[in-house]
């Protein structure tokens, strides 16, 4: 049975997650830096902003998660809400 198999310990998992998180930061930094080293062909002025796509993606993701979190507080019901 699978639950008798040895599981990754919590500390090992935490350190792996921490490493992954750091790698993600590094990749993001590299991608942001790349933006300065190639000629851009832009349709809109806003795209000329350094790492526009990255910053836009980050801000949208964080902003939307906060909005969604507040919305969830308003919209959440118990799982059996419609069964009653």
């Amino acid at each position: 049975m699978s639950h008798t198999e040895p599981r990754t310990t919590t500390t090992a998992r935490t350190s792996r997650t921490a490493m992954l998180y750091r790698v993600l930061w590094c990749v993001a930094a590299v991608l942001g830096a790349v933006d300065f080293f190639y000629p851009k062909h832009v349709a809109y002025k806003i795209e000329e902003f350094p790492a526009f796509y990255g910053i836009f993606g980050f801000v949208v993701a964080v902003g939307a998660i906060f909005i969604a979190r507040e919305l969830h507080k308003v919209l959440k019901r118990s799982e059996t809400y419609y069964d009653r």
Binding site: V60, A61, A68
Partner: protein, 564 residues
């Protein structure tokens, strides 16, 4: 005549024979049917085939051009994938209804006139509801009923639109329509219900997660994309669709962010992806329409793949929510890897099909100078990375183990998923060959350095945003909750208004009755007072009282006589 046989009818008619076969033979037969339909579709030349007269009208069962061909092709391929995925399915109801459903969708995209379109439109609705009911529980039964009512309503509105359109133009041909006329508006409303426009969409996240696991895979492919085809055929370049589509993409994304139920999350994600297609139809340039057709192919494939992975994970654990799943990658490495490919595709990472198709849509927006819709779609693309591309594989396969799978997915399921993933990658790596299939003679090169870098930035930074919030425990806590959506209007508000109205009516009824009773009692009491045993008029004998009344009458007569 057999040369002109519509490919969809091979599925519809062929499926009716399936229940006669033994279960083992039946699975092979159900894979053979879409394969035959595919061969038949590929053998048909572009043009008009299979016309016949009925009640003085010419019905066209086969009108094949680039747009119809792309949709028919991906529908037949989706039917094939579903048949392989459902190889072990032994429920004849699901086997037959899934093939009829797919066949009807193929027939509908190839139909050249509105009457044939209507017939197959309704057939998709009726065939598909059995995939929901096949779950055979109370929730699924009720969700199926709601689904059927809404789908049939869409069909009825479509029919009304068609009849008015025929009266106005004298033609039943299915071509460009105008949303500004009454018939065109009605047909747009019917299509909008099926395409899950915002606030008309609630049937989708309501019904799809309650179908069987096999059923929700099949459902994800056809209904909504058929509606997108109808939009592209009838309403290309209708400006309002740009805004409706952008709203869909954002609305679906926000709800997907706060959904814990795996299949419901995917349903919202599907709804958001449809927004991209609707925007593209609204732009209506050749590039945009090519992008709509191409991205419809991509989104059918990656939604199929994600629903198949979800089905495999749920059937292996018996758990439905992200918060109760996790750590399945160890026991299901194949499914986990394929899910990551599906996730990469929906995030439109370079090398996947969505990268080469979504960029057509975004470019068509910049070419048309539509900056706000472009920004909205870019935002929706960033949110897709978070709500589906990261959350689904992370919470199901990689996060802390909450569940344990009994086994890896069966071989046939893995085969279907691998084939779908392979298609996604093939399209991603060979965009030129794929663009040649699309309408609008697209010449576009997605793999420019700038495009690759900007797309990677969008994906990685959005992922970073999610990772950062999760690290600081700021992501929404979703365990044991359900979110109310527009379906609340007809599942809670309308019933409560109805019951309030009902209780008001009964209140008025009882009060009126009670008042009438009081009056009646008073009247009886008055009569009793005067005529009862102690009453003034009962003191004399009846003869005396009669004499009194005669005297009164005489007086009255005398007075009248005198007045005259």
């Amino acid at each position: 005549m057999i040369a002109d046989l519509p490919p969809g009818l091979i599925l519809v008619l062929g499926a009716l024979l399936a229940p006669l076969l033994r279960p083992t033979l039946r699975s092979a037969y159900l894979v053979l049917l879409p394969a035959l339909a595919l061969a038949q579709l590929l053998s048909l030349e572009n043009g008009i085939h299979g016309q016949f007269q009925m009640f003085g009208h010419v019905l066209t069962l086969l009108r094949i051009d680039a747009l119809a061909r792309v949709f028919a092709l991906i529908f037949v391929i989706a039917a094939l994938v579903c048949a392989v995925y459902g190889w072990r399915e032994r429920d004849a109801v699901q086997q037959v209804s899934s093939q009829i459903y797919a066949g009807a969708a193929v027939c509908a995209v190839l139909a050249g006139d509105l009457v044939s379109l209507f017939i197959f439109w309704e057939l998709t609705a009726i065939a598909s509801v059995f995939l929901i009911w096949a779950a055979r529980n109370e929730r699924a039964y009720r969700a199926g009923m709601r689904y059927l009512i809404i789908q049939i309503a869409s069909g009825v509105i479509l029919l009304a639109g068609i009849i008015l359109h025929y009266r106005a133009t004298g033609s039943i041909a299915f071509g460009a329509l105008s949303a500004a006329t009454l018939p065109g508006g009605l047909i747009l409303l019917a299509v909008g219900i099926k395409a899950a426009f915002p606030l008309l969409h609630a049937w989708l996240p309501d019904a799809y997660p309650k179908a069987t696991l096999f059923g929700s895979v099949v459902l994800s492919a056809f209904t909504t994309k058929l509606a997108v085809y109808a939009l592209a055929r009838g309403y290309a370049g209708t400006e309002i669709l740009i805004w409706i589509g952008a709203a869909m993409a954002i609305y679906g994304s926000i709800f997907a962010l706060i959904e814990d139920n795996l299949r419901k999350l995917l349903a919202y994600s599907l709804n958001a992806q449809l927004g991209f297609l609707v925007v593209a139809v609204g732009v209506g340039s050749p590039l945009a329409l090519g992008g709509a057709a191409g991205h419809a192919v991509s989104s059918i494939l990656y939604m199929l793949l994600l629903f198949m992975c979800a089905g495999a994970a749920i059937s292996a654990t018996g758990r439905e929510t992200l918060s109760s799943l996790g750590g399945l990658g160890r026991q299901m490495p194949w499914t986990a890897a394929l899910c990551v490919i599906g996730a990469a595709s929906i995030a439109a990472l370079p090398g996947t099909s969505a990268f080469v198709t979504k960029s057509l849509i975004l470019s068509s927006l910049t070419k048309a100078g539509l900056q706000i819709p472009w920004l909205l779609l870019l935002a929706a693309a960033a949110l897709t990375v978070v709500h589906t591309a990261i959350r689904v594989p992370y919470h199901v396969f990689f996060a802390r183990a909450e569940a344990s799978a009994r086994r890896e997915a069966p071989l046939e399921m893995r085969f279907a998923m691998t084939a779908t993933a392979a298609l996604l990658l093939v399209v991603g790596f060979l965009p030129g060959a794929f663009y040649a299939l699309l309408p609008g003679n697209i010449s576009y090169s997605p793999y420019s350095l700038g495009h690759i870098v900007t797309q990677l930035q969008l994906v990685i930074f959005a992922a970073l945003g999610f990772a950062m919030l999760r690290r600081h425990k700021l992501d929404p806590q979703l365990r044991n909750a359900t979110n109310i959506d527009a379906d609340w209007l007809y599942r809670r508000l309308l019933p409560s208004i109805m019951s309030a109205f009902g209780s008001m009516i009964s209140h008025i009824h009882f009060r009126t009755l009670a008042r009438a009773q009081v009056r009646l009692n008073r009247f009886i009491a008055a009569v009793y007072r005067h005529h009862g045993p102690q009453g003034a008029l009962a003191r004399t004998w009846p003869v005396g009282s009669t004499v009194l009344w005669v005297a009164v009458l005489l007086c009255v007569t005398l007075v009248f006589y005198y007045v005259e």
